[in-house]
Amino acid sequence: MAIFEATKKFLLDHQHIAKVQVVSLGCGSDSLFWRLCADTDVDSRSSYFAFVEIDFPDSAARKAERIRQDALLSASVGSLETGTDPWEGEILHSDRYILMGCDIRDTGSLMTRISRVTKRRLPTMVISECVLCYLEPRTTDMLTSKLVSHFDDLSWISYDPVGSEDSFGRRMVENLAQRGCGLPGIHRDLQGCTRPFHNAGFCTVHVADMLTVYNMILDTNQRRRIERIEFLDELEEWNLVMKHYALLWASNAPSPTPPFDFTKHRTESRANISAPHHPYVR
């Protein structure tokens, strides 16, 4: 939801002003593009934004098949262009949506292909949702520095697990490793998450754990909507889990406008948190 809100704000900030680009690394089966198109505030018909989704070729191929088979999904994508050059290797391509099969660890190839389908001067937002944690740190370093060097006006929103050194974090790393899922890119703390972005040259980097984002940054109406969907009373575990995920926003713009007020801080007393809607109470 935080990524949706951040991307929506990015689009709305430029709506009717400029063309923009969104590049989603490791998109998986994410439906962000379609949710944005369906949002009544976003003018998707004017095609002022181009959405580029990138994942492993086999994953992208499965997604493409799903899109082609579904009338609603295809409708948002628009008329698909065919041909090889300059879209060679792209699995789906329209005037507003590109689905690319590419291993992002091959940063050289990735940058070549991104350059072909985007314009470096247009405001661009990169999204990585549970992606950087799976990459070796040096790969993330290369990705961040190549992308920030390439685009004149780049912002990046990233969501990843964090906190590998405490008992919950160590157990999470062990549990996932036992299932063959390594987390070579997980950072020990929030500060660690910002390092690749600072090192790459982003002027502004903000990070917060998801508990902070949920309690302080998302507005009350959004939280109440979520709390009505499912009853949750075990807050200690919720707090623990949420503290082990981080939302990061970085920008190389001279006057950046973060999607959220990352400077909001309140004491963590639970008495400050408004009582959720209890489904059993009138």
Partner: protein, 318 residues
């Protein structure tokens, strides 16, 4: 056989082989539905006679939430000592979240019926029809027995569990915490407890409230019960002549957590909660003269058959 407790369930004529049940349950075996019926009927007869506030003699070992973590319950007994040599008081939340709520609750219940004055059970907020349908016990019963019948036996029995305990006249034990409707133990004694956990009111608060570093009362972010501060605890202890409130209900990474200059302690007995929290667990031993000691323990590494534990399904954002 000498020393065996047996009895007939008047309704169904199924014998209660409690020692046999214990052998099987300690092996991690589940009882048959008819056996559960008899056990619950017999347990009801015992629990119905117990007061809202159990009077428990020290020495006793107090355990917090177990939440169906059967193998960790075995670990708890290794650390605290076997029943009946050690007297235990469990503070509720026997079921839900863990994968062996059935085995866990049936074992504790059998021990209660076999040794009623060596095992004491009070009610937690998860001993509830509504909550167990959300957090796993209902689903586990249907999976293991093929129907909801055993779940109904157990949830009907939950209505008979006591609301709290008083150890040595000085240590008040409750699952959650205090209520703005309650200032004396006698007010707890006056509650009609034989009902589903209400959505609000005194009985609900006892099972849902949490202490908080503040003064006075506040709405609970759980959506039931209240938050209560150090001044409330000091006043309650003073009014009722208590040295300590021992409660559970909240995950504590270190297994136990004292608050308000030692006037209240949270005891949590489910290590590596939900197989992912990475916490240790604790039990609180009270000696005959009410000196208290904590025993901290970790999650069990192997199951009863000495094989590596089955890997449970995990919930992480990936």
């Amino acid at each position: 056989m000498e020393g065996r407790e047996s009895g007939l369930d008047m309704n169904l004529g199924v014998g209660l082989d409690l020692d046999g049940f214990l052998v099987r349950l300690r092996r991690g075996e589940v009882l048959h539905e008819a056996e559960v019926r008899s056990l619950c009927w017999r347990a009801r007869e015992i629990l119905i006679e117990e007061p809202n506030v159990l009077l428990v003699d020290a020495p006793v070992t107090i355990a917090g939430d177990v939440h169906g973590q059967y193998f960790d319950l075995m670990e708890l007994f290794l650390v605290g000592g076997d029943v009946p040599a050690t007297r235990y008081l469990f503070l509720g939340d026997f079921v839900d979240r863990g994968y062996y709520s059935v085995e866990t609750f049936l074992l504790l219940l059998t021990m209660k019926v076999r040794w009623p004055d060596r095992v004491y059970l009070i009610r937690g907020n998860h001993e509830s029809r509504q909550i167990t349908q959300v957090y796993g016990f209902y689903d586990e019963c249907v999976r293991k027995f093929g129907s909801a019948t055993v779940w109904r036996f157990c949830t009907d029995l939950f209505d008979y569990l006591s609301l709290g305990a008083l150890v040595g006249g000085k240590v008040f034990c409750v699952h959650g915490g205090l209520s703005p409707s309650i200032s004396t133990l006698d007010q707890i004694r006056a509650i009609d407890r034989k009902q589903e956990v209400p959505h609000d009111g005194a009985m609900c608060d006892l099972m849902w409230s949490d202490p908080e570093v503040m003064d006075g009362w506040a709405l609970s972010p759980r959506g039931a019960g209240f938050l209560f501060g150090g001044d409330i605890v000091a006043q309650f202890n003073h009014t009722n002549g208590l040295d300590l409130i021992a409660r559970a209900h909240q995950l504590v990474m270190e297994g136990y957590k004292e608050m308000f200059d030692g006037k209240l302690v949270t005891v949590w007995s489910a290590p590596n909660y939900c197989y992912r929290c990475g916490n240790v667990a604790a039990i609180l031993s009270l000696s005959s003269d009410l000196q208290w000691r904590y025993h901290v323990f970790e999650a069990a590494k192997v199951d009863a058959k000495n094989a590596p534990r089955k890997q449970p399904v995990l919930e992480y954002f990936l």
